[in-house]
Symmetry: C2
Subunit: 808 residues, 2 copies
């Protein structure tokens, strides 16, 4: 349980929501699906630990075989009178739809917590948008949208309080990854506060509606044409009352906590001309941008939609400033073939009804747009572009009128829906300290950063935010941690574009990623380097040297890999790099920081045994002695440049499209470069040489019995076995390994096991099946030391030889 005594925690949106959901339910029926899994996993863990809900019971956690089963379990448990919840997303939510219609039709109080995610269409995506919850808007569930980690926590309670009062089931949702995985500092609700919002009378009423053999009745019958329609209309009053109930609950919540929420929360100029309507985390970005624009004299505003269903026309019209001239409705979803995205349609219907009822004097000009599909970034620069669009005339003869059904955040060069925006537009970030960490998936960087945020969030008055950009390839892919610290709550659900501090946890990233594009002038650059402070400069590529000089960066190195090795941490550099961050960033006094890091180590690793904790302590202590500032020369000396991520002979699609994604420039790909129906050329993986393993296999021909097991067992085709006529060997490069074939009667035939080291993930399977394979360290330093060892030195030539000469 995360809450400390002050009821302040630094946790992610999933935990924030699950914390409340667990406390106000008796049954959680679960099936894990990214990005909602954490909620279910935490509930499972808490239940296993015997943690109690607000009534002193340990909730039952029931994992089913799919979300279809989870929804059926929820439906069944609710009919027994149990307070029941589930956590889901995306296709999982779709499998729940049939039960949801029934749960709503039966006026059953429940909250489904959804980390909203894309649906699989032309491709699957595990990332966040509102396609899933929008596919559930037909079910009759109420829909309450959280925009931040604090809201995910608060709205989990507001939804539960409102569902019990209204009997309308709720989807409580927040943006997958952006909110579900953002770590932020928040005020936690106490059990007393939670209890106060869930009076027993509503729980008793829910219980009383349960199916019960002691006073039997039947629910879930069949109805015929004579009465089904009348039956369907009986619920109208419940829906009519729900917005008022939610607003009342929000008022009660405000009185208890001081945190004020409204169904449609307007923010901006009282006399705004241009208003954006938006739901979810993007609302925070719009709000902050509108603030900045208004300070510069503009008249902008935003309505943050919290209660999307039932959509209260009355509350919406109350929230809208009378001065509004143009409105942009931003939907984080796409429904091909519709007259517009769902919230755009809702706003139009509301405005027309306002006009027809005489509540509006005239119809503002309204345009609709899509943004942020599948966690596409949504930045202040994009918000400004939308406001700029709203300033254009409604009609014009030169095409300069407002564009409807636009997209923002991409370059649509096919149907030209996209608005241009100036990425250089940023808000004032001066009160924040921003830090970026480039690491490898599963290398511990993200975990250490989460600890850092907790240390700062929970031990200082500073607010902290952490967001972690993963590739869906997960382990072995690049991860970038985005950390912000500041004196006020941080409402910035977008990535850091200009950091004060950048740490590079993998030296070879200097050749692959343009990290220093994201650092401020005068920032601090920390590099995990096998070269010491004297040597390192000459090993940096030209563009890195230039950026360091031009941006006047403070530059530090540590050989974290060596420190890890020397302190028995065998390659785990996360604690070491974290210690460097605290030493250099100055957010906490050094001694306090070290004490806190050790406390976090104790907490994180104690279950792995005292020796692991001790090794980490030693690593921390050894770190500062090995952290050096680099004296930056006045001039760049290197001529080496960025590595091309794919070779020149790769197919067009790989060079023009795949390579852009591999190098982190996928966002720049225009619509025209994407296949229309999700069809890709096959076999493109082979062009992605990830080079992620420090340890790679080496063949020992004299021990090898040529059974082929190593090649068979390797999941990444790193080891390939070939036989060939010995005549080919005359052209073989230096160090090409070869052995007589282990079979009688073929004296002229040779055998080679060739290692494609760049594809190796270091999984160890080859050495587990065969003693004739050994692992060799080929870290940058090791490779340098081994430059005279032809096996490694000539690996590339050997592979080329094997392919070109032998495979053709």
């Amino acid at each position: 349980m995360p809450a400390n005594k002050k009821m302040i925690a630094t946790i992610d949106g999933n935990e924030a929501a699950a914390y409340v959901a667990y406390r106000v339910n008796e049954v959680c029926a679960i099936y894990p699906i990214t990005p909602s899994s954490t909620m279910a996993e935490l509930a499972d863990e808490w239940s296993a630990k015997g943690i109690k809900n607000i009534w002193g019971n340990v909730p039952d956690i029931i994992e089913m075989q799919s979300e279809g089963g989870a929804a059926g379990t929820v439906h069944g448990a609710l009919q027994t009178g149990s307070l029941t919840t589930t956590f889901t997303a995306s296709q999982g939510l779709m499998l729940m739809l049939p039960n949801m219609y029934k749960i709503a039709g039966e006026l059953t109080a429940t909250v489904f917590h959804v980390a909203a995610r894309s649906l699989a269409a032309q491709a699957l995506s595990i990332f966040g948008d509102h396609q899933d919850v929008m596919a559930a808007r037909t079910t009759g569930f109420a829909m309450l949208a959280s925009a931040s980690v604090q809201e995910a926590h608060d709205f989990a309670l507001i939804a539960q309080a409102a569902t019990l009062r209204s009997r309308i089931p709720f989807i409580h949702f927040f943006d997958g990854f952006r909110t579900s995985h953002e770590v932020n500092k928040l005020a936690m609700l106490s059990d007393e506060q939670i209890k106060k919002m869930i009076p027993d009378e509503f729980v008793f009423a829910h219980r009383k509606r349960a199916l019960n053999p002691d006073h039997p009745f039947i629910r879930g019958t069949a109805q015929n044409p004579d009465v089904y329609f009348q039956g369907r209309e009986t619920v109208n009053g419940f829906y009519d009352r729900t917005p008022g109930i939610v607003q009342d609950v929000m008022h009660a919540f405000e009185q208890m906590t001081g945190r004020k929420y409204e169904l449609f929360e307007y923010s901006g100029a009282a006399d705004a001309k241009h208003v954006i309507i938006i739901m979810g985390s993007g609302g925070e970005t719009v709000e902050e941008t509108a603030k900045a624009l208004n300070l510069a004299g503009e008249k902008t505003g935003v309505i943050k939609v919290r209660l999307y269903r039932p959509f209260s026309t009355a509350h919406f019209l109350d929230a809208l400033p009378a001065t509004v001239q143009s409105i942009a409705v931003l939907d984080r979803t796409k429904e091909s073939g519709a007259t517009g995205e769902p919230m755009y349609q809702d706003v139009l219907a509301t405005l027309v009804e306002g006009l027809q009822q005489g509540r509006l004097r005239s119809l503002p000009h309204v345009i609709g747009g899509r943004y942020g599909l599948s966690s596409k970034e949504f930045t202040p620069a994009m918000v400004k572009a939308v406001y700029d669009e709203l300033k254009k005339p409604a009609h014009s003869t030169n095409g300069e009128q407002q564009k409807n059904h636009f997209t923002i955040g991409i370059n649509d060069d096919v149907t030209h829906t996209s608005l241009d925006y100036d990425p250089a537009f940023v808000l004032d970030e001066s009160e924040w300290r921003q830090a970026l960490f480039f690491g490898l998936g599963a290398d511990g960087t993200v975990g250490a950063n989460k600890n850092s945020i907790k240390i700062i969030g929970e031990n200082t008055d500073l607010y902290a935010q952490g967001y972690f950009v993963y590739d869906s390839k997960k382990s072995g892919a690049r991860t970038v941690s985005h950390l912000r610290f500041g004196p006020h709550p941080i409402h910035a659900p977008y990535l850091i574009s200009k950091a004060d501090f950048i740490a590079c946890h993998q030296f070879n990233f200097t050749e692959k990623v343009e990290m220093l594009d994201f650092i401020k002038k005068g920032g601090t650059f920390l590099l995990n380097s096998p070269y010491d402070k004297e040597e390192v400069w000459s090993h940096l590529p030209g563009h890195v040297q230039k950026a360091i000089i031009e941006k006047q960066l403070k530059c530090y190195v540590i050989d974290a890999t060596a420190v890890a090795r020397d302190t028995g941490m065998s390659g785990r550099i996360n604690t070491i790099m974290q210690t460097c961050f605290f030493a250099l960033s100055g957010v906490l006094p050094k001694d306090e920081a070290i004490a806190q890091i050790k406390q976090a180590i104790q907490k994180t690793y104690s279950k792995k045994g005292a020796s692991v904790v001790d090794q980490n302590f030693k690593a921390v202590d050894a770190t500062l002695a090995h952290l050096y500032e680099v004296t930056v020369p006045a001039k760049a000396t290197s001529h080496s440049e960025m590595q091309s991520v794919v070779p020149d002979h790769a197919p067009d699609f790989v060079r023009n499209t795949t390579a852009m994604m591999l190098s982190g420039h996928g966002d720049d790909l225009p619509v025209s470069s994407m296949p229309q129906d999700g069809t890709y050329p096959s076999g493109t993986t082979r062009w992605e040489k990830r080079n992620i393993s420090d340890l790679v296999p080496v063949w020992q021909p004299d021990l090898c019995i040529q059974c082929g097991n190593c090649a068979f067992v390797c999941p990444h085709s790193v080891i390939r076995a070939k036989f060939y006529n010995s005549g080919f060997l005359k052209d073989a490069p230096e160090g090409f390994q070869s052995a007589p074939i282990n079979a009688r009667g073929f004296p002229e035939t040779k055998y080679t096991l060739q290692v494609y080291a760049e594809d190796c993930t270091g999984c160890n399977l080859c050495v587990e099946v065969c003693p004739a394979i050994s692992l060799t360290d080929r870290t940058v330093k090791a490779i340098n030391m081994a430059e005279k060892e032809p096996i490694l030195k000539h690996a590339k030539e050997n592979i080329t030889f094997l392919k070109v000469a032998l495979e053709q």
Copy 2:
């Protein structure tokens, strides 16, 4: 295969659609769900018979374990390049949603044929509305709506032609039951015509997009935030082009067949002031009503929506008359919590965009309403009420303005959404012959009527329509067949309110149903009666006698049960009653009619053997000799009235609500009488005394060993075993059966097996397990004959005695 040489057929909507679907596909992945099952069953049957598609192949029919599996099979088969379809409805369609997003995202040509049905909410319903297809409108499928049996046939082809051209998958849907089960006369497409609409080039293009190991590529990858959004926008052009493609296909279809269709088909006054927008079969009712109103000087019109997705704003605005002042959008669905039903929202968005683009000068006043949920009747009277509403002022101070979010067809006395309507308003029906047949589920009435329609439709120039009102209890419940015949195509998707001919196939219905409310003055009333033409009058209840006299009905009787018995048909009266219908209705010359009936018998029963055919032939021949006209006295003599369907001591809910449904007045129940959350008192079935079995068990105490097997095996609790002290018998009614208990040491204890004959379905299980039970005929005649037999005469008193005296 139904088509005769003239390519005219009289079939239902399911067969009309499946006929085409089968011919233009290679794979049908199916899972049966009412009311779409017939399509899948027919495809299965045709495939088993080796019937070929237009390319000369027999399609593969693959039945899966659920619609989830069927959708996966469709998706997989499409990816092999096969032309693939499925048939579904309701929850079945919901289980297909995840695959549908992918099929659409991958731009895959396919048509799903949907007999649109309600979704289970407060209760399940197997009947028709648009809730299911509306739940699929988010998937990116195009949606094409048929309004009639002819359209279900034509649009199955238009959808297939359009999907192959556009690469957008289609839902082709029509109203469940109303269209899927309506039998109508239609022009059938020949294979040549079908082929002409599906040129090979589009099939080859579809094939070429298949996954194929000969030229491998990959489809269905994962995409990350960098490119998913761009990928999702690649499809825009395909959707933009689709409405034009569909319209082009419709034009080509018109040139080929003469049948003209438009995306949004306007019908009505060129200068209409009041326009209804509607989709599906209801459009026919609105169109015919608007015609009638315009003849009376009104200015009304209707837009029948055919292509609902992609919704083409341009085509819609083209179709809308410039003179329109007020619009009602009628949705056959309900989405609680939305700002309005889906098509209402679409129309508002379209109008606002028309206004913003300068295509409209001003915004018409728009209201939205719900109708026809779950096959609720939608009649000309209701249409008139909607037009009347549109004539009201948009604003008023006395509440007399147009009501938005209304319902029509029910009495909503809770949230007062419903519009009043005058059921007496009917269209001119003078060119039709209308006939109603009251039978029992599974008694063969419906099958015989279907044959009658075919006989008339396919052998005369008359057009024919048949619709069959079932209870979802099916077997043993009342069925009413609605048959219309006329010189022109019949566009009347609503029930018959004033028939020329009524046949009552069960004499006891005269006491239970107010059949003659539905007959015209001077109409013909045919009664299956155990009493002959002299006797029958005195056995008719007073209200029937009065109606016959007041409406000057011609009244005929036949003892069809006796004719059936005497010709070896043992209770199957359908052929006999059908023969009477032809004899009395005069639609066909008598001899021709009899020849046709015999041909239909040959076709229907030949697989059951020659003897069954012969028996039927004999029954036909014997019929006319037993058909008598009744001489109607000048005055009603009977004082017996309608039976109350439940006893007075039944609980309030049963008397006020259940009884209304049982007596066929469920449509009159207001919203307030329905439980809000689908919760009913349990055990109400016992109040429904269906009395449907002619043969009921009789206990033979002297043979009985008191094993209790008969009571155990009876599925309807008809036989109940009791033991009791013999002292109770002193109050027993006459004929109460009793036996000494079959156990030593209890000389004072008696045993009774009491038969609750009204609950018996005649299933025979009791006599199958025990020779001490015999079956007794208790048809009306038999009961009369047995009036002196106390067992039957006093059955009710016996039951009451058993209950009151012994069970308390």
